[in-house]
């Protein structure tokens, strides 16, 4: 099934000559693109480029000023989305969406959120409420099925435990996942995600990517996602469209888009001539990646700063800039840093109160993986650690070392406990 979809590159959504004007403001200007079936298409661009407006047109919340939006379902039915009311688009054309500023039903439970998404089939099976009210078994079965479906998605997004808590009580990342699961409960063929990774940390971002890939694999749903941020997009998308001021400035595979001078210009806020320079420089150094351009730009910037600060010879400064010299970040700053975690598995450092996932990851980067490493820190190590975590005095105050000692002892005492601790 999935492979069949893959081999069939027919477009699931065609956007032709889409324009949207608000009063005098042109939010989208003659936009054309296609989203392929079974593919992940990314819509990127700087803030205010009109990405969300495109979504609002696709999902019927805005009626476009001009243009045509054609959705082709798997069974071959075609729908002209610009002519349909928003709820019909979800119901008939099978397009679902999420929102930039999460729109969960915060006072309903997580489970209820997923049940509301199954409204239309449940309405049918409850005989438009009447049979259900009278207690007909068809509805009972449908209701049980709906809960099972919700459970399936909850497992998928790792929220089964919290099914009965109000959605508004979930942490931010979980709310984002729940919103995706809720959209999936409408059985969409096209899923539109508006900045799904905004506000997520690295681990959550990675999980999100996995979730999206598995949605595509298992359900064959095509995905269009808006991202602000190129790096997330590059990992999972098959096709990237770049918008700036409502106009498409680039369209293609992540690789081609990444090196498009127009895209670089739009993101770095530099002018076109500078970009040309950057591209030439990149070509000269043999690096085909945008990071080369970034390096060049920042080196130049540092030079500029240094020049304005004067006195110190330019050459010397450029040299310091070339190597990552931030005193705050010194790899292996502590004496007992390891190259890799022992037995390939690091302790869950977040169990130490005050560390948190971000710092844990940073500690890992600097060669600290285990409780006993922290427990063995000397004063100098603490100072070094504090310097690169930018935590003046916190390590001592929160007694990380004491906590680490305790945890190290526990994990030695009963190795089984470590596993559960790590899984948390």
């Amino acid at each position: 099934m999935v492979s069949e979809v893959r081999n069939n590159p027919s477009p699931v959504l065609r956007v032709e000559h889409l324009s949207m004007k608000f009063g005098g403001l042109v939010a989208i200007n003659d936009l054309n693109f296609e989203a392929k079936r079974g593919a992940i298409t990314a819509l990127i661009g700087p803030n205010g480029a009109g990405k969300t407006t495109v979504f609002n047109c696709i999902t019927g919340f805005y009626k476009p000023t001009e243009g045509m939006l054609t959705m082709t379902r798997q069974n071959g039915e075609e729908y002209l989305l610009e002519r349909m009311a928003d709820f019909v688009i979800t119901k008939k054309a099978k397009v679902a969406r999420t929102f930039q500023n999460i729109r969960l039903f915060s006072g309903l439970t997580v489970l209820e959120n997923l049940l509301v998404a199954q409204h239309n089939p449940l309405m049918l099976s409850s005989g438009y409420t009447i049979l259900g009210l009278l207690g007909f078994p068809t509805y009972k079965k449908a209701a049980a099925d709906a809960i099972e479906k919700a459970r399936f998605w909850l497992q998928k997004i790792n929220l089964v435990e919290r099914a009965d808590d109000p959605a508004g009580d979930l942490p931010y990342g979980a709310q984002r996942r729940l919103e995706i699961a809720r959209a999936m409960c409408t059985d969409p063929e096209l899923l539109c995600l508006d900045e799904p990774a905004a506000g997520l940390n690295a681990r959550e971002s990675a999980e999100l990517n996995q979730l999206l890939l598995s949605i595509r694999e298992e359900t064959g749903t095509s995905i269009i996602l808006i991202e602000h941020d190129m790096s997330v997009v590059m990992e999972i998308s098959d096709h990237v469209i770049v918008l700036e001021y409502g106009t498409k400035i680039s369209d293609g595979t992540p690789e081609t888009v990444k090196n498009d001078p127009k895209v670089i210009a739009a993101y770095l806020g530099v002018e076109d001539e500078e970009v040309v320079e950057l591209i030439e420089h990149a070509a000269a150094t043999g690096s085909d990646d945008i990071t080369a351009a970034v390096d060049l730009l920042s080196t130049e910037a540092i030079q500029e700063i240094t020049e304005t600060q004067a006195e110190v010879p330019v050459a010397a400064k450029a040299k310091t800039a070339a190597k990552p010299a931030a005193p705050a970040i010194k790899a292996g700053a502590t004496a007992n840093a390891l190259a890799a975690p022992r037995e390939g598995e690091s302790d869950d450092l977040t169990l130490i109160k005050g560390i948190g996932p971000v710092n844990a990851r940073r500690l890992n980067e600097h060669g600290i993986f285990h409780f006993d490493q922290i427990a063995a820190w000397k004063k100098a190590d603490v100072t070094a650690a504090e310097a690169y975590l930018a935590f003046d005095g916190r390590i001592a105050r929160e007694d990380w070392i004491g906590q680490a000692k305790k945890l190290a002892k526990e994990s030695q005492g009963k190795p089984a406990a470590k596993k559960t601790g790590g899984a948390k």
Binding site: T52, N56, F61, Y62, F99
Partner: protein, 302 residues
């Protein structure tokens, strides 16, 4: 034609009073997004104050020139009604600001019930008639159209007040503070505006206009009772919504329109159904212009 003009004049007189009350609704709504249901009763209270001032003048001083009496009635009523409104806002609305949106609506309804019954308890349930203050009128030469002097007073006072009010809102620091709070309360605070104080002042100003409306109402009809807050209040509220709630010119336009509709409907169709006509036209207008005549269309943010 004469009849039509005569009725229109009557309608505009009535509409002026509605417009004055409607400004209070619309300003409060504009600034804190709340329907101040007690405003109609504040108007009634204003009329009662004016009535008591009038009686006090005749009882303690005796013959006072009509113009002076009217002025005094208005001033005292404005002052004390403003104080009432300030207190009401402070006690019943401010503690609920920023919480549940229906809560201040309920306290406003409660305040409305409490105010009218307070007046009933302290002043008795019967109608309070006063002798006519302004008599006579002029007939426009060559036609049968008469304009009563009291109608003129109403229209002139309303016009003067609206001009003064327009100046206050558009040309003074307080007015600017008010408009800024209306458009973006958070930003106003960031610019050093005392939002609480501005809101209080809005309530006071709305109540003062309602007090003037109350005085004019008393002068026009010559009688007031504790139940008289409701109907003019609802009409004025309707006027505010019809004009586009939140819009000051809208309130005046809405007030005049409701007055005209009532007068003309009573004249040509049926006096019994004049209120039905006013309400039906409100519903019809809103169905086609969901934000009222001069209101700003609400943009749905997705």
């Amino acid at each position: 034609m004469e009849y039509f003009i005569q009725q229109s004049i009557n309608g505009l007189t009535l509409g002026s009073i509605y417009g004055l009350i409607a400004i209070g609704y619309t300003m409060v709504y504009g600034i804190i997004g709340m329907i101040n249901f007690a405003h109609g009763d504040v108007f009634m209270l204003g009329a009662f104050m004016a009535m008591i001032v009038f009686l006090a003048l005749t009882t303690f001083i005796g013959g006072v020139p009509v113009v002076l009496a009217l002025l005094l009635m208005m001033l005292v009523a404005m002052l004390l009604t403003g104080l009432w409104s300030w207190t009401i806002e402070r006690l019943a609305y401010r503690p609920l600001r920023g919480s549940f949106r229906l809560a201040p609506l309920i306290t406003a309804i409660g305040m409305s019930i409490a105010l009218s019954n307070f007046v009933q308890v302290t002043q008795g349930p019967r109608n309070k008639p006063i002798p006519p203050l302004v008599n006579g009128g002029v007939t426009i030469y060559g036609t049968g159209i008469t304009i009563a002097y009291k109608q003129m007073v109403i229209v002139i006072v309303t016009a003067i007040l609206l001009a003064a009010f327009w100046y206050l809102v558009n040309r003074t620091t307080l007015g600017r503070a008010q408009r800024s709070c209306e458009q973006d309360r958070k930003m106003a605070a960031l610019l050093g505006i005392d939002v609480d104080k501005t809101i209080s002042m809005t309530f006071v100003m709305g109540a003062m206009l309602a007090a003037v409306a109350g005085t004019l109402y008393l002068m026009f009809y010559g009688v007031i009772s504790f139940t008289d807050g409701f109907t003019p209040g609802v009409k004025a509220f309707t006027a505010a919504v019809l004009g586009g709630i939140g819009s000051l010119p809208g309130a005046v336009v809405g007030g005049l329109l409701i007055g005209l509709i009532e007068a003309l409907w009573s004249a040509y169709f049926s006096i019994d159904y004049k209120d039905v006509a006013a309400f039906s036209i409100l519903a019809i207008v809103l169905i086609f212009l969901p934000s009222g005549i001069l209101g700003r269309p609400e943009v749905e943010k997705v």
